[in-house]
Structure formats: C-alpha cells, structure tokens
Symmetry: C2
Subunit: 452 residues, 2 copies
C-alpha cells in the first residue's frame, strides 16, 4: 500500500466541498423549504401544528422578497386550485422561470426601494383588505422584503423615509434603532400588514436571512408583533439630535403618533396577530443540517459549530486556522477526516479600494494560515450565490493555495490589504460561482481536513 | 418539582468555572509537568522513550524562565542525589518558596533583560562548558527564558541588541524576522546553548508558552535546531533598510557571520544536537485536557475547540456568542449543560488609554452578547495569573452581568472603547485573581451554558 499523495487527496476534498455546499443550498431552495413544511390532505393544509381548511373561506397569497416568485410557485402548486387571488413582489431580474397561475408578479427596486415597489405594495394592501373573516392570507416572506414591501405612512413620501434613514446611518445609530424608526414610518412593517389582513387570519411562511431567525426583523416583521413604540422613536431622534434636522413631515408624523393620532404598531397579544402564525420554513440551520448529513455520508467526522457567526471576516480566519492545527495534532474538536461547519454573516471593514465580499475575504485571510499544513480545504459561500458586489458566491482555499499563488507572482497580503479578494481568486481560479440561487439564508463555511 | 431558578444555576456555573480553571492551571504547574513526564528507577531516569543512566557521568541542571525555580526544585527532588551542580535564572520575585539543595538561583530582568541576566547566563555557559562526554545537562526551559538567558555574541553589548530589536519593531518586521536576527546576535539562542553543552548530552524539558509548541521559538530555542542563517539576517536588514542605521558593531558582526568568521547557529542534523532531546512537559493542551476531564466529571457535555486561538480578542467574542445561541436552540456543537473549551493567545489592538488585558477585554466584549440569554457563564484566564499589566488573571461574565452593571451605572461600551476592561470588572467584582501561578501556558477560555 502506497500512501495516497496529497494532490489526489486535495482534489477529493475540493470535489467534496462542492458536493457539500450544493447540498446546503438545495436544502433551502424556496420551493423545497415550503414543501418541507406544508402538507396538503384534501381540503386540509397542515403547517406545523396548525391545520387550515381551504374550503372554509377564500384563500389569498401575498409574497415578497428575493425568493417571492419561487415561493409563490411552490404554494400555488400545493393550493393553486383553492386560491382566489395572489400577488408577489420580487427584485428586478429575480423572477426566475416560474409559471404562476393566479399570482400577479411584480418587480421592484432592491436594496433601494422605488415607486414600482410602492405601487405593488398598494396592490398587496388592497388584496389584504379584501380578505374577510374566515379567509386566509398566506404570506410568503424572504430576504429583501423590507425594501420590496414598501408603503410610507400617511402623509409621508419614500423620500422622507430615505432621508430619515440616511440621517440615522450617518449618526452611527444601531440597526435596531434604525428599524424602530422605520417601522413607525411605515404602513406595513412591524406587524402592520397583519392589521391590514385582519379580520382574516394570516399564515406567514418565512425564509430567514437574519442571524437567529428573529421574525420581527426578517423583512421588518410585517406580520410579527413589535415591542417598540413612538416613544422609543422620539428618544432615538433625541439621542442623535435629529429632531430638528428631520423632514418636517416626519417630525409631525412622529409627534402625532406620540399624541395617539397615528396608529401604533401591533404589540404582542394584539388581536390582529392572535389568529396568525409566523413559521420559519428555511434557515441557515436547515442548510447546515443538510451539509452535515451529506458530510457524514461522505465519511467525515462532522461538527456544526454555530449558525450565528458574526464579526470581522479576516479575524474569524484565526479560528479556522487554530482548529485545523488541533484537528491534525490531537483530533480536537474532531479527528481527521474532519468536516467543521459554521454559518452566519461576518462583516468586512473596507479600507482598500478593491473588489470582494465577506466570504472571499475570509478565505483569503485563511490562505496563509493553512499553507503547508496537511491537506486542508476551506470554502465560504453565500447561499444566495452572491458575495458582496461580485458575481461570485465565495471562494475556496487549500494548503497549497499560497504556493500556487506565489508561483503566479501573486502576493495574498497585497490583495487582502486592498480588500481585493475577488481579483486575487479570479486569477487563481478559486472563486466559487453558483449564479444567483433564488434563495438566501446567509453564508456557509466548510472546513475539511484530512491526514495524508 | 419546581424548576431551578436562574440565579442558583448561575451561581453553580460560576463555582464550576473556578473549579475548572484551577484544574487547568494545576495540571501545568511546573513540578507536576516534570513529575508527569519523568520517572526515576534506581540509577535510571526515564523521559519519553529515552533512558538516562545517572551513574554514567556527572549530571547538571540549567533552568531559565519564569518557572525556572519550581522546575529546578522538582528535578532536584527526583535526581538531587545524582546532581553535581545546577543553576536557575528566573524573573525578579519569581523564586516562590522553593528550597534548592544544589542549584544556585539567580534573579534577573524580564521582559527587559539586564546585566544580572548577562552575569547569570555567563555562569550558565561556564557550567555548560564544564560538562564532558558521558555527562548529562538537564535544561529546564519556560516562558520568559528568552530575556533571562541572555548573552550577546562576541563584541556586542546588550544595548546593541536592544537597539537592533527596537529598530526592527518600528519597521513592522514580523516576530519571525525579529527572532531570526536576535538568534544570530546571541551566544545561546537558536541551538547555541546545545553547542556549549556538547560533547555532553542535553535533555531539555520545556514548558511551552508559544502557540503550537514550536521548540525553536520557546525561549528562542537554545537547544533546538535553527533553520535561519546570517544570509536571512542580511536580507531582513535590507528589506527594512536598516543596514546603515544599525549599531556599527552589529553590522560588522553580521558581515563577519556572512563571511563565515562568526559561528552560524546549529542547523537540523548538527552533531551538537544529535544526542539531545527536546521534550514538551507542559502546554496548553495538557491544561485543557485536565479541564475537559473535570468538566465531564461535573456532568457537562464538553468540547475542546482548539489550543491555538489567535486574533483580536473582541472579535473572538462573536464566536462564543454565536455558539451560546446554538447550544441552547439546537444543541450545536453540544447540548446543554455545555462546556466549550478553547485556548491560545489573542491580541488586543490598544486604542484607548485604559487598563486591561486580552482575557478581560474578551470577556467585556462578550458581556452584551450573552446578556439575557439562558444561563451562560464565560471565563478567560491567563494560566500565569497575569492578564496584561494588571494584577488579575482574567475575568468572568454571565448572562446577568450587563443588567447588574447597568444597575451600577456602568456602560460596558465606554470601557471597551477605552480598553479599560480592568476598571470595569474591578467595579463589578468579576475579575479573576489567582495571583502569580509560577507557570505559563497562555490563556484558557471556558464557556458554560445551561438551560434553565
């Protein structure tokens, strides 16, 4: 028996890497997510521990987000015969090849909302208000929904809201604070879509693109209870000394809200929320569970560390490098052949002028740290198929990447310092390209280590 | 059955935390490390797979580093009767309560070397050179040894070396590059103590305070082969344009080295290294293994992630926070009651003017991220009992820390931004104080999570 040579082991690991991230993405495709959680039985529809009688009243569908088209198609295929009307709002170019029978498909602006989004949301509210007691509105929510389901509160314009958000961003307000304000300047966010749907019941099926799957944050929680108030908004505006710098219409609106003259968002226990359910049908945990199962089939000692990873991408490289070392030396946290899985949404502090994304930057920062180790392969992939403003989903590196790059005259450090991971990996051929996947549950990190 | 209340569970976890880090430190106390790896059997001494016949020739002891006194005492207790002479150099105030029979104990400057170190090292070299064929020199190495065993090469002064190191530090040279230069300006570093000991054989017992236990880096590897050369030194000096700015004596010495007129450090395979062994008797892995064993006894589902953690301390907090969430939600990477163990040597980029250390800063950054979770306790502890320039070994935080701090009017963010973790935890009473432990294998991180 000759021992396997490193090159062939590395090729095997690289092939496994692709198998694994594809298994993860497939597990959270919008249609599969819905089929996984919804079961039709005659006129009954089982979702979680709730059962919907499709013959009781009329059934409507409202979908929004980057996966809206595919989610709508999946639900139509299940209950299209029982559907009265439907409407889906997605990002320009995200309609895919779907065939919809009863659902009107709208395209609108994302991440910057536009008038097309406002018009489509007006239609959605009209549909919601058509629904009566005994009717059911199925709400299909996915990432990007916050910009696509957009309806400024009475008397406000899209520009008023955008100006306010910009001012908050510049002061360094937290994302929670910004969301608190935005929910209160909207007619649909923060549970207000549920109010429009009442007295009909709603059933929201949610594809989560937010760390920890908080239903009040995904797409700004249009059918979730909101715990924040106009008082909180007023305090935030004071904290950042924005009261006098806001558009007059916004200040007036918030003051009216404080005085009880504008509608507060529905709070936990509000009757408009009581009959509804918010159900996560796809998230990063589901994707990583699928990767885990596949990795075990492939013979890896597999461990899922977490689905909620945040922090500066290049710093997280230290953690993967450290584990690589101990996997080989001590079998900590698992023995080779090892597969360590992680996911989340790291950040990149941009200092350079290059092109890249958080997954590519993480891979580039790890490249020197695993160089020359026993056979190690790492891949970081955005499940939506897009990493930063690039056409790549992420990148992979291995223990020989630094050597190969050096032979090409590429210095990883120069590219890292310039936040230019895309142009580095474009040359080394280590970009991961999946094309847009029509789903989004954040990023997966896959570390494969073998002794050889 | 009433469920246990969070406060009592938290108290239990905090008590366990202390049990656990103490178990870790105890496992790598210098005496225990030596007793664990050395076995006396009549005139025979078994160390690893090597056996030393104490009656063959004379036996000497040379110890240096912060644990030198305790290591010397432990070896004396094993082979004191067979010892001819011994010498130990430790940091001022690090002599502990040891009783030495045949070993002369010297104290010297650390981290900045001084003349006392130079004098003691001269004695050490005299002792090394006394040793003949058939003699054995036991070399006891611990962290800090690089400053304590200090002997500038022929014609150089301590000031010459310090000036050179300062110049390199200011140019941004890597620690590897700095070490390459320092080894070549020394009479003992980079395997040169082994040369002084030859033709006697050496047996080095090493307490590792360096990530990955590389024997060539611990205390600058005085009995380890060195792969770097005067040519490398010359190139480094050119890279940072230091050739003309160096002390003349240093430049002359390096040029003579290049010309073969000064001794090159022993390379792998050098005869002076052949009969010796370098054995790690204590390291972070040993400490974490002991914590692991104890945590299992206490009933925790326990996982050691890695012993080689580096990176910015506050960024690593993201990783622990992320795991906390998934432990509770999904039992990833392990189910509650969970104990996650990690170790290494994170760094802190100092931007503020406060007082703290890497372990305290990591704990402070984690504090808001675990606030209000189910019962969670985290501790970060320097095994030497010292975290940064403070009298604390580290700090602990739990899910109620933020609430308690807020009640005291303390804002964690202010303290974090000012790198002032010590003064924060001093007020909250969450400093971990062990006093100097007389050992050092870097830091341990212990995360305990329970459902409640």
């Amino acid at each position: 028996m000759t021992p396997p040579d490193p090159d062939s082991v590395r090729q095997k690991l690289l092939a496994d890497l692709q198998t694994l991230y594809e298994a993860g993405i497939q597990a959270v495709m919008p249609d599969r997510a819905i089929f996984h959680h919804v079961r039709r039985d005659g006129n009954l529809l089982h979702i979680g521990d709730r059962t919907y009688d499709l013959s009781r009243g009329r059934n409507y569908l409202i979908a929004f987000g980057k996966a809206a088209a595919l989610m709508a198609e999946a639900l139509e295929s299940l209950i299209g015969d029982a559907l009265t009307d439907g409407l889906a709002i997605t990002k320009y170019g995200h309609t895919g090849q779907v065939k919809l029978q009863k659902t009107r498909l709208y395209e609108a602006g994302h991440p910057v909302p536009d008038e097309a989004g406002i018009r489509a949301t007006r239609e959605a509210l009209r549909l919601a208000e058509k629904a009566r007691k005994d009717d059911t509105v199925f709400v299909l929510i996915s990432g990007g929904g916050s910009a696509l389901l957009i309806s400024p509160a009475t008397g406000l314009t899209l520009q008023d809201k955008q100006k306010t958000t910009e001012l908050l961003l510049r002061t360094g307000a937290s994302i929670q604070e910004i969301n608190t304000v935005r929910k209160h300047l909207s007619r649909v966010k923060g549970g207000q879509l549920a109010r429009a749907i009442a007295p009909a019941q709603f059933c929201s099926l949610i594809l989560s693109d937010v760390i920890g799957d908080p239903i009040e944050f995904i797409a700004s929680g249009p059918t979730a209870p909101d715990t924040t108030t106009f008082r909180d908004v007023w305090n935030i505006l004071e904290r950042y000394q924005l009261r006098s710098r806001l558009p007059v219409s916004v200040r007036t609106y918030v003051q009216e809200g404080l005085a009880g003259k504008q509608p507060e968002t529905p709070k936990p226990g509000d009757p408009v929320l009581k009959s509804g359910q918010n159900r996560i049908v796809g998230n990063l945990a589901q994707a990583l569970q699928a990767v885990y199962d596949r990795a075990r089939e492939l013979g890896y000692n597999t461990l899922i560390l977490t689905t909620e990873l945040e922090g500066e991408a290049r710093e997280l490289a230290h953690v993967y490098a450290a584990m690589t070392a101990d996997i080989l030396k001590r079998g900590w946290p698992v023995s080779p052949p090892a597969c360590i899985l992680c996911g989340g949404e790291p950040t990149v502090t941009v200092r350079g002028s290059g092109l890249g994304g958080r997954s590519q930057e993480l891979a580039l920062a790890l490249l020197p740290k695993i160089a020359g180790r026993q056979v190690t392969v790492f891949g970081a992939v955005g499940t939506d198929g897009t990493d930063g403003p690039t056409d790549a989903a992420g990148a992979h590196v291995d223990d020989a990447s630094q050597r190969r790059a050096a032979q090409m005259g590429l210095n990883w450090l120069d590219y890292l310092q310039n936040n230019d991971s895309y142009h580095f990996f474009e040359q080394t051929g280590e970009l991961i390209k999946t094309g847009p996947t029509q789903t989004n549950v954040m990023d997966m990190h896959i570390l494969l280590v073998n002794s050889c």
